[in-house]
Symmetry: C2
């Protein structure tokens, strides 16, 4: 099974000013492709932080997806950091220059825009259907833009090359109950189904306490059986089923 990690590069996320939406997008898409995301790190726009995060993740997980830091400005340092992590040079990529010239006009290719064509040696370009400035793949690392619409457009071009497995499926049953009233029954249910992962997520709203019990795995029939057992468990605990999905 191939798993994945995500490395988000961005002071704007760490400051709280920008709410990341790339992690839930990538996590959802990769789960559907059968590639579970096992870890996420968010680091500052600093070469040492990016290199350390990348090296920790790329040796541990099947794929690493990075988000952010490949634009034309002084704070866009991801490409240089990836080159440093892999011990290769940045080099002017002729195809990337061609794409940028096609979009902006050759006369607009100032040094800042040409920085977006500086790609680590040995990397393969990732198409950017929205604004042309490419991402790239080097080894098991996929370097994507931080702008969500651009990241998503880039990811769409990658689907066919990812080693996919059976999709990661889930069944959720939401109950009107406090977690503490069903916790022992849920533990027994998890013990009875070691090949599925059963999670319990409480919330507290105006309607009273709720618990979403979520079963995850790759076997749809097994998950359907677990969902039925969750409903039976709820009935035994006197808890109403509020929703299933």
């Amino acid at each position: 099974m191939t798993d994945a990690a995500i490395l988000v590069i961005g002071n704007e996320i760490l400051s709280g000013r920008t709410h990341d939406v790339n992690v839930p997008y990538l996590a959802t898409q990769l789960a559907a492709l059968g590639v579970p995301v096992a870890e996420v790190r968010i680091v500052r726009d600093e070469p040492a932080a990016i290199v350390a995060g990348l090296d920790a993740l790329r040796h541990r997980y099947g794929y690493v997806f990075t988000s952010g830091g490949i634009g034309p400005t002084h704070d866009d340092i991801t490409s240089a950091a990836v080159a440093a992590a892999f011990g290769v040079r940045l080099e002017r990529n002729a195809e990337a220059v061609r794409r940028l010239a096609a979009r902006h006009g050759a006369e607009a290719l100032n040094p800042a825009r040409l920085k977006m064509a500086e790609i680590p040696a040995g990397a393969r370009l990732i198409d950017n259907p929205l604004s042309q400035a490419p991402g790239f793949r080097l080894g098991n690392v996929f370097v994507l833009a931080g702008v969500p619409s651009v990241l998503q457009a880039m990811f769409e071009t990658l689907r066919d090359e990812l080693r996919a497995g059976p999709p990661l499926l889930s069944r959720a049953v939401t109950l009107a109950v406090r977690e503490g009233d069903i916790a022992e029954r849920l533990a027994a249910l998890q013990d009875a189904h070691p090949d599925s992962e059963i999670g319990s997520y409480p919330s507290f709203g105006a309607e009273g306490p709720r618990v979403a019990v979520v079963a995850r795995g790759r076997d749809a029939a097994a998950l359907d059986r677990i969902a039925a057992e969750i409903r039976a468990l709820a009935a035994a605990a006197g808890a109403d089923v509020i929703a299933t999905d």
Copy 2:
């Protein structure tokens, strides 16, 4: 300057099913207290992953805030993992038992609920004004709930004990321009203001390209000067100023 890291514990975030809101909340609150968040990790509900993340972060940053995994169910393993990381025992905390009994009634304190009173030896309880089950502080690690309303209520009780500094401030000026047309001017601006951090965040909407230029630092007067220089830079580049905040 004291900095901080956040460790989010939760398969539900990594699956993409739940969108984390605790990172932006904590990041915003800590920035206002003058404690910059320097790194975030999101790890699975697995003891080794939690211990590894905690040990990496607690030795490197001034504070670590964890989110998730302190409820009554089988997948709530954060307290045990924190105890393991610090090499201390989990022990039944009498005050935590008292709070849980006050909320649920002593007769409802089944083994699952009593698990929420198992606290690492030497830890100090963090109040939970919403649902009583406490968090705890051990060394520089603050263990908080994953439910956002509970995490926020817990954090409110901590403000006075955090070593705060001058708040981290920001000024944002949004321009109608492509990043590549102002990148060289922004680099010069950053060079002229090494004590502030100048970030550039593009977006592409129906109205055309936008760039939010954000200056961050602790000196309000310096940030105001930078904001004025960003507006001057925009005028020189022929770019309209869309918004300032």
